[in-house]
Amino acid sequence: MTTPAAQESVATRVVLILLTAALLIILLVLPLVVVLAEAFRKGIPAALATLSDPDSLTSIRLTLTVAAISVPLNTVFGVSAAWCISRFRFPGRGALVTLIELPFSVSPVISGLVWVLLFGINGWLGTFMDRAGLQIIFALPGLVLATVFVTFPFVARTLIPLMQEQDASEEEAAITLGATGWQMFSRVTLPNIRWGLIYGVLLCNARAMGEFGAVAVVSGHIRGQTMTMPLQVEALFNDYDWVGAFTIASLLALLALATLAVKAALEWRLGRRGSMH
């Protein structure tokens, strides 16, 4: 049987492949190379000096902390939301689906600004928080809130279609066999959605570490205190510290690559056991 693809002439195929490769190189590989090359332009010691700078170290620690809080939160939220939407019929279900996607359609700057308006010193709840001695804006809680908001849709969005496609009958079977809600979830639901979940969590993580706009608004740019890695990159860049900026940028890129590597490793390990789903 000849597929339509096989009917294309060799020339067309070569041109298409070259075009794709060129686009990949220009759009993905080249920027990565530039980032790394700029970081090491003045040699490895200069790059390492940036990394031992206390402000940079703080930004790395802060980014990892924010991600370590936001990603688990959004994993729980995302799984719960996907569960609700795919397993129950209730009024307002359609509205909930739209609401979950809201952070995708709202500019990240707005996503940051809402928290300032809510918890800022002149915000709706600002005075109350101030009196309670809780600092939200220009502090870690604000950064986490903004990041959670921006990265909320990733897990839910990847799971909803998956769980809608797998109907509830396996879960019902588990219940009739005597499973408690938690046993059903951990032994039946979770293994069935694990690929989608891993994918959603990784996307969520990548965005949580890389988020700039929303975080920039709530951070207040206090050096050595509320600067996450993307903010630190911008600050160093504005200071004409090119090596510093690109070193942090390289580190961010490496974190992204590490995320991809983790995903590939997990797929490989889980794929060896049992059938792939």
Binding site: S169, E170, E172, A173, A174, I175, T176, L177, G178, A179, T180, Q183, R187, V188, P191, N192, G274, S275, H277
Partner: protein
Amino acid sequence: MNVEMRGLTKSFGPTPALNAVDLSVSNGEFLAILGPSGSGKTSLLRVLAGLEFAESGTIVIGGRAMEGVPARERGVGFVFQNYALFRHMTVARNIAFGLEIRPRRLRPRAHEIRDRVASLLDLMGIGDLGGRYPDQLSGGQRQRVALARALAIEPALLLLDEPFGALDAKVRKTLRVWLKDLHDRIGLTSIFVTHDQAEAMEMADRVAVMQAGRIEQVDTPDCLYAEPASAFVHEFLGEAIRLDCLVADGVARFPGLPSAVLPTACRPGAAIALIRPYEIGFIVRPGPAHVVSVHANGPLKRVRLLIGGVGIEVLSPAEGWTPVVGENCDLELSKARVYPV
């Protein structure tokens, strides 16, 4: 275990899924719930299992009222239409699931679970499939695994939703015999839902015919066939010829055809007469039935007739009088069952 259902009512929006359903199943019985799609039969099964809840009515299983008892505590085995096997577990793990999730003090020892799984696999005739995954099995094998998984928890009651719905005709035939035989061996009270009347009649001790959320009749297959309680049951259980008639003084009058004396009382007025194609007799004299064609079909002849412009098909024994194509004859309708409109 005995099962008692009283006045079960449930609706999805304005349409009743169950409408005051009363049904008793005795210990060890194999009961079929038969009905067209949308008749509420699957809803009834799900309500019994506790996967859905009736708005009113009571269920008692083995003397225990099921009100407020969650599905996982009912001890009811459920075989789903699509089998719902856990796709990421092997066949053996699927079957062991109900035992492995028990709290420690109720859980059999690991080797006991292994033995139980092995004996269930043997009982199902799939002893060598324990290590496979569901997507490596045929439809018939999956059904046996689903059954083994439901039986592993030693349920008080076994429910099967369209157990043969997803199988091809040939496998269905063999599995029917096998399942009936299995039921007779283990004697577990079982209820299965089907839309296939042949399946229900062949396998069940008794059949409950459902329509629009109501139970129209519950009876043994023989009684159901001999004395259908309503026109719906009569037509659902097999081919029937439908004739309009007028009932007066215990006699059904058919326009242009000989009248039939009714064996049981029927309200006077317009009525529907139903008669099976092989219950119609021929009377050798000129009459309103025009013979269109005659086909020999094994021990029976298939005779196509036109009565007043309406075509009907009659089955008549191969021996005896043979209608002649193109001629007219009269019909004998005394075996017709008459239902008021």
